[in-house]
Amino acid sequence: MSAQIDSSRPAKPPAWRDPNVTAMFFQVLVLSLVLYVIYTLINNTMMNLAARGIASGFDFLSTSSGFSISETLIEYDESSSYGRVFWVGLMNTLLVSFLGIMLATVLGFIMGVARLSSNWIVAKIAMIYVDTLRNIPLLLQLFFWYFAVLRPLPKPKAAIDWFDSIFLSNRGLYMPKPIFESGFGLIWAALIVAIIGIFFMRRWAKKRQEKTGEQFPVLLTSLGIIIGMPLLAAIITGFPMSWDFPELKGFNFKGGMVLTPEFCSLLFALSIYTSSFIAEIVRSGIMAVNKGQTEAAYALGLRPNLTTRLIIIPQALRVIIPPLTSQYLNLTKNSSLAAAIAYPDLVAVFAGTTLNQTGQAVEIMAMTLSVYLGLSLLISTLMNWYNARMALVER
């Protein structure tokens, strides 16, 4: 063994062993590969489209559609354009996703808390609810709610009715629709004033509590204001509102509001399925709060109810929100299963009917995917913002 040691600076390693160089080389290689794949895909698609004489471009968006859609939130008829169809579908997707998220959150929180209930039977029922529903595919639940529940419902002529104003049949749930007459604007204004008032009252109550420690019945007062103000306005204006009652005419009910079986089953399936996941998230969030916190709260003399509301939930929320976000995302994406049961959502009317009538698959799928990607981005951003607000501020 020669003990000769080179005392000069170590030689620079050869390029293929220099981590910086290899990393750069590797990255360039992967990037060019990815770009090449993308280029080939686009190139192929263009070539194939051209070779097969398929129309391309977005001109079709302004041509009239010629078909009808059962449920629309915005004005639409057969002479509206395909662009309009896109918006109709998008609105329906947003509606069912939004309501689904609300319902799933409420149900999920109830079930999550119920699983931790000290009441044995309630805890067990919640457990069965969660374990059953999260282990059965959503599509199956959707079909179940649609076909299995639809079948036993009566025909419109034999509809189940409550007070001759609410009718349940296999055409849906028909309810009276409020018609706002002139002067109703005042009631809306009262409602808005009430909401603003509550906002300021809460700030005031919080400040007072921080200063004096006295609590103010915020919830009760808020309820009082939000019901009382519009009611007062209504009394002053003399109830400028009438009801449009549904009525059986010919084949079906006319007038009123309707919740179609398609909408209901989609909403039920989405929110019940997602609520079983949210229940688990809520449960683990609550369990993640240190038991010492509860004990400390009891030691301070807080009642169990208040402990849950003021101590446990705020801390649990920090653990709950990130996974909750992905559940909201899932629910929104899962609303696309509407296509299977005739609810006119974006995938059904735009990526379905419109695609078939115009044949412009590439453009339509690109638009549809962008919408879902955009929605995902929007929900993540909103929830991240909320999460940042709720996050533990450490000193």
Partner: protein, 337 residues
């Protein structure tokens, strides 16, 4: 295993082969040795899978006709069941070679969708089916009804036109798959089921008690149904078109799967018959096919009348306008010469 193979294949094609130009579909068909034929997911009389997975029906028989013409063997077909929504995209993308899925021939489809309609194999029209106990006798009494139908069909458009024209309202309930339409109609979700009349007759057999339902007399549209190919391959287009005409021509000439073999050995047959079976002339050569292409079609699948009776007969639909022109219908083949 196949996944690995595919990953390899993808890697190789992506790196080695650059942009490949869509070659003629016919070459691809001949190379792989079978036709990929798009059919409906289950419509009795047109394309219906049996329990062991074999397909039968009018649409299926025209796929077999093309296979018989190209390969001399009607069994060289693979079927891709498609929903109405998927069918054109599948044909445009090259997922299937021929679409034979009771598809209506319209101008838009023939042009901007990049499709070529070959010939009509069944002249149909849209109708309405209702429960008998509803007491409806005419489509004009359907104001306010809920109507179930399939997504992405001309039916959806015709229905909108018809109701608008007659100043009536309706509630469309539009499903992606025909099975779901039947299930929803059967569950009472809709008062009316609308599609092509042949389709109604076929779907009626899928209901619990077919006799409880009736098809209304009105026919609200023209629905010429037939096989479709993608634009860009004229040879395949010709072959599919003339395969269909060959079955019609054979019926007119009185040739069928039973007697056609005799023509081959009968030296005193008519010249047009000899031309048909490939003994004379060069019809096959013109299409780039075997001289016995038409003979193979009739021997393996039968003439139009046989195909019709075999598949549509059980639905108890009259032959009507689908009869030969010489019998009062409008089935008419350009001369094979």
């Amino acid at each position: 295993m196949k996944l690995i193979k595919l990953a390899l294949a993808t890697a190789i094609t992506v790196t080695v082969a650059s942009s490949a130009v869509a070659g003629p579909v016919l070459d691809k068909i001949k190379q792989k040795g079978f036709i990929q034929c798009g059919v409906s997911q289950g419509l009795p009389g047109f394309s219906n899978p049996s329990e062991d997975g074999t397909w039968s029906g009018l649409d299926v028989d025209f796929c077999r006709t093309v296979a018989a013409a190209i390969f001399g063997d009607a069994s060289k077909v693979k079927y891709t069941p498609l929903s109405a929504k998927e069918r054109f995209t599948a044909l445009q993308s090259g997922e299937i070679d021929v679409l034979s899925r009771n598809t209506t021939w319209t101008e838009t489809r023939d042009t901007s969708l990049g499709l070529n309609f070959t010939a009509t194999t069944y002249y149909d029209g849209q109708g309405f089916m209702v429960r008998k106990d509803l007491g409806v006798k005419s489509a004009l009494e359907l104001n306010g009804a809920s109507v179930c139908t399939n997504q992405g069909t001309t039916t959806e458009l015709n229905m909108a036109d018809y109701f608008r024209k007659n100043g009536m309202t309706y509630e469309p309930v539009v499903f992606e798959k025909a099975d779901e339409v039947v299930a929803a109609y059967d569950a009472g979700r809709c008062d009316v089921y609308t599609t092509d009349k042949s389709g109604l007759a076929a779907q009626r057999t899928k209901l619990k008690k077919p006799t409880d339902h009736m098809v209304l007399p009105e026919t609200i549209s023209k629905e010429p149904l037939g096989p479709v190919v993608a634009q860009g391959d004229d040879e395949l287009f010709d072959i599919v078109k003339w395969s269909i005409y060959a079955t019609i021509e054979a019926e007119e000439m009185g040739l069928n799967s039973g007697n056609i073999a005799k023509i081959l050995t009968n030296p005193s047959a008519n010249p047009d018959q000899l031309r048909f079976v490939g003994k004379e002339g060069q019809l096959g050569q013109n299409l780039g096919l075997d001289a016995k292409w038409a003979y193979n079609i009739i021997r393996e699948v039968g003439n139009y009348g046989e195909i019709f009776d075999r598949n549509i007969g059980p639905l108890e639909l009259p032959r009507g306008i689908n009869n030969l022109w010489s019998n009062g219908g409008i089935m008419y083949s350009p001369p094979l010469r």
